[in-house]
């Protein structure tokens, strides 16, 4: 199964709404850019039914180069985490496809 991409989302918006291809593409870009902009300002994004994008500040911790075994500290960083919403979780949990 192929992955869903921005191109396919834009194609669907163009087909479903009275948007030109250019407008549909701009709409998809704006959707992800607004979420990114919010996360850049350290603000959580809550999309009811789909899920929440949260930010976590991680402290520096000891790490290792898996190839050489050499110890290198993993620097402090801020990371994005996603907590799926109830509706999304329910929709996917009974998927019985198999690879």
């Amino acid at each position: 199964m192929g992955a869903l991409t921005k191109a396919e989302l834009a194609e669907h918006l163009h087909a479903e709404l009275a948007l030109s291809k250019r407008e549909a593409k701009a709409m998809v870009e704006a959707f992800f850019e607004e979420i990114r902009a919010c996360l850049r300002e350290n603000e959580q994004v809550k999309l009811s039914g789909f899920g929440n994008f949260d930010l976590r500040d991680k402290r520096e911790r000891p790490g290792r180069n898996p190839k050489t075994g050499e110890e290198i500290p993993i620097s402090a960083r801020r990371v994005v985490t996603f907590r799926p919403g109830q509706k999304l979780k329910q929709q996917v949990e009974h998927y019985v496809g198999g690879e």
Partner: protein
């Protein structure tokens, strides 16, 4: 930021689109992503990240009220992996003091 605030923000920046169209577009985008995952597919958004399913093995859980053991079936859960651009921008914002 909530979904309705996201819709307002996009509508403000895309003046050629009506608020109604933006609202419908946001619903379609989220529904498409949900449907793709629900049918076992992936979602790959360059510069943002990818969504996929992770399998959770069957396990014995507990009813938190009674303490009784409950057999839980294996299931799939949605997983998000942030893309390089998002990872870098978010981490850079920490350095800027946000």
């Amino acid at each position: 930021m909530t979904k309705s605030e996201l819709i307002e923000q996009i509508a403000m920046r895309q003046p050629e689109l009506s608020a109604k169209d933006v609202e419908t577009a946001v619903r379609i985008i989220l529904d498409d992503m949900t449907d793709s995952l629900a049918s076992g597919g992936r979602v790959e958004i360059r510069g943002f990240g990818s969504f996929s399913l992770h399998y959770r093995e069957p396990r014995v859980g507990r009813n938190p009220k009674t303490g009784d053991a409950v057999d839980l079936e294996g299931k799939y859960v949605p997983h998000f992996k942030p893309g390089k651009e998002l990872r870098e921008q978010v981490d850079a914002s920490r350095a800027l003091g946000y």
